[in-house]
């Protein structure tokens, strides 16, 4: 089934979120797609607790607070979110676009707004030689179907929430070993104490060290060599699950035929439109002379982009400039 809306925003970072507001004031409806399981982009994923000092009128606000308040601000416009999915392809229709994600969601819209930051968040892969030959067979960076691990021997690498949560969860039905470079973990204290309890009871094993080599042995098992204080040892397992956080990668956007400048999408500074009409790019993903990768700049870009998107959505209507302070009509939309 294909859903229909006015605009699909690719990326639900701060700039994608604020675009909903600027478009909403002009009666333009939005869907947002994001690879992450949450909204807020870099602010929510990379620095939720860290302070930002350069948002106008907010002397200090954390990444998560900014996200939460943006959500509150756009709530009257009722945007639809498609999280946990990556936009893979876009296809032209007679009067717009169909945007398709990796899990098959299809949304038809008149315009696309790319607010994709530095690209999709993807797992950080350990630089072990040949590891790519085992990916999605014996090596997984994310877990979709945990039943395949039942009664198997698993090595989980990392010290954050994903590593600890999966250690605790998979220990129920699998033989789990956790490997981390030190005995301290940055995961939530609850998960850490649960893991330590499992280790004391002998339900899981812990190894201190870092994986250095990977190779295949008979019966599709893996042999992993790891190092701790210059000493090398081996462990044989069925599966390796490395959890070393996320990094950003441009991904499928590079293949959509948009003019790029060093992996960023070129736009004009009046409409923030790309080389393809009715596709716009705002926030960290775009480039123009003088571009600054600031949240502030992304907000400004949203407002100007919306003016042009209005023309695509309502070709016969005239857009009249109004202030939220004085316009009864805008205030009605905002429910204030």
């Amino acid at each position: 089934m294909t859903e229909k809306t006015d605009v699909v925003i690719i990326g639900a970072g701060p700039v994608g979120l604020f675009a909903v507001f600027e478009l909403g004031l002009l009666n333009i409806k939005c869907h947002l797609v994001d690879n992450l399981d949450k909204v807020g982009g870099q602010c929510a994923e990379l620095y939720p607790e860290k302070p930002i000092y350069d948002i106008p009128s907010r002397p200090v606000v954390t990444g998560q607070q900014l996200t939460d308040e943006l959500i509150k601000q756009i709530n009257p416009f009722n945007p639809k979110f498609h999280l946990n999915q990556q936009v893979e392809s876009i296809a032209k229709t007679d009067d717009g676009w169909i945007v398709q994600t990796n899990i098959g969601t299809k949304v038809e819209a008149k315009c696309i707004v790319v607010a994709a930051g530095a690209g999709s968040f993807v797992p950080r892969k350990p630089p072990i030689e040949n590891i790519e030959n085992f990916e999605n067979k014996n090596v997984f960076y994310a877990i979709r179907d945990k039943s395949i691990f039942k009664n198997k021997k698993i090595l989980i690498a990392g010290g954050g929430d994903s590593a600890l949560d999966w250690t605790n969860e998979l220990s129920k039905d699998s033989n789990v070993t956790l490997i981390h470079r030190r005995k301290e973990f940055r995961a939530a204290p609850d998960s850490v104490s649960k893991m330590q309890e499992l280790e004391t009871k002998g339900k899981i094993k812990f190894l201190k060290g870092q994986i250095k080599k990977i190779s295949k042995i008979q019966n599709s098992k893996l042999m992993l060599e790891y190092e701790n204080d210059d000493e090398r040892s081996n462990i044989e397992v069925d599966y390796l699950l490395p959890f070393f956080g996320l990094k950003m990668e441009l991904g499928p956007i590079a293949e959509w035929g948009l003019n790029l400048h060093e992996n960023l999408i070129k736009v004009d500074t009046e409409k923030f439109e790309t080389s393809t009409p009715s596709i716009f790019a705002i926030g960290d993903i775009n480039w123009y002379p003088g571009k600054l990768k600031l949240i502030l700049s992304g907000f400004h870009e949203s407002a100007l982009m919306a003016q042009e998107v209005f023309k695509y959505c309502f070709p016969d209507k005239k857009n009249i400039f109004r202030y939220t302070t004085s316009s009864k009509e805008l205030q009605k939309k905002l429910g204030v």
Partner: protein, 103 residues
Amino acid sequence: MPKLRITDRSGKKSEIEYDSNFTLMETLRDNGYDIEASCGGCCACATCHVYIDKKWINKLENMDDDEESMLDQAFDVKNNSRLSCQIDLSDELDGLEIEIAPE
């Protein structure tokens, strides 16, 4: 001006002068060394990983929890690993020797 000795990823050694108002990451980046530092020095990416020469490691201020946690997302971490954005270059560090860690 105080000096810094750098070994890059290819093993090439070089020496530069530094300004003690900047961090080690900023100094490396601004002098054109290949260091990603994708979070711009906020201790949120672990792509500014360096090794500090053993003679110098104890002369630096200790790592805080934030840096130690972020290093968990780096690879090839050693006892002398640090995130260069968390190191303030002071005049006392004149002669500091560092190596840029593999990507």
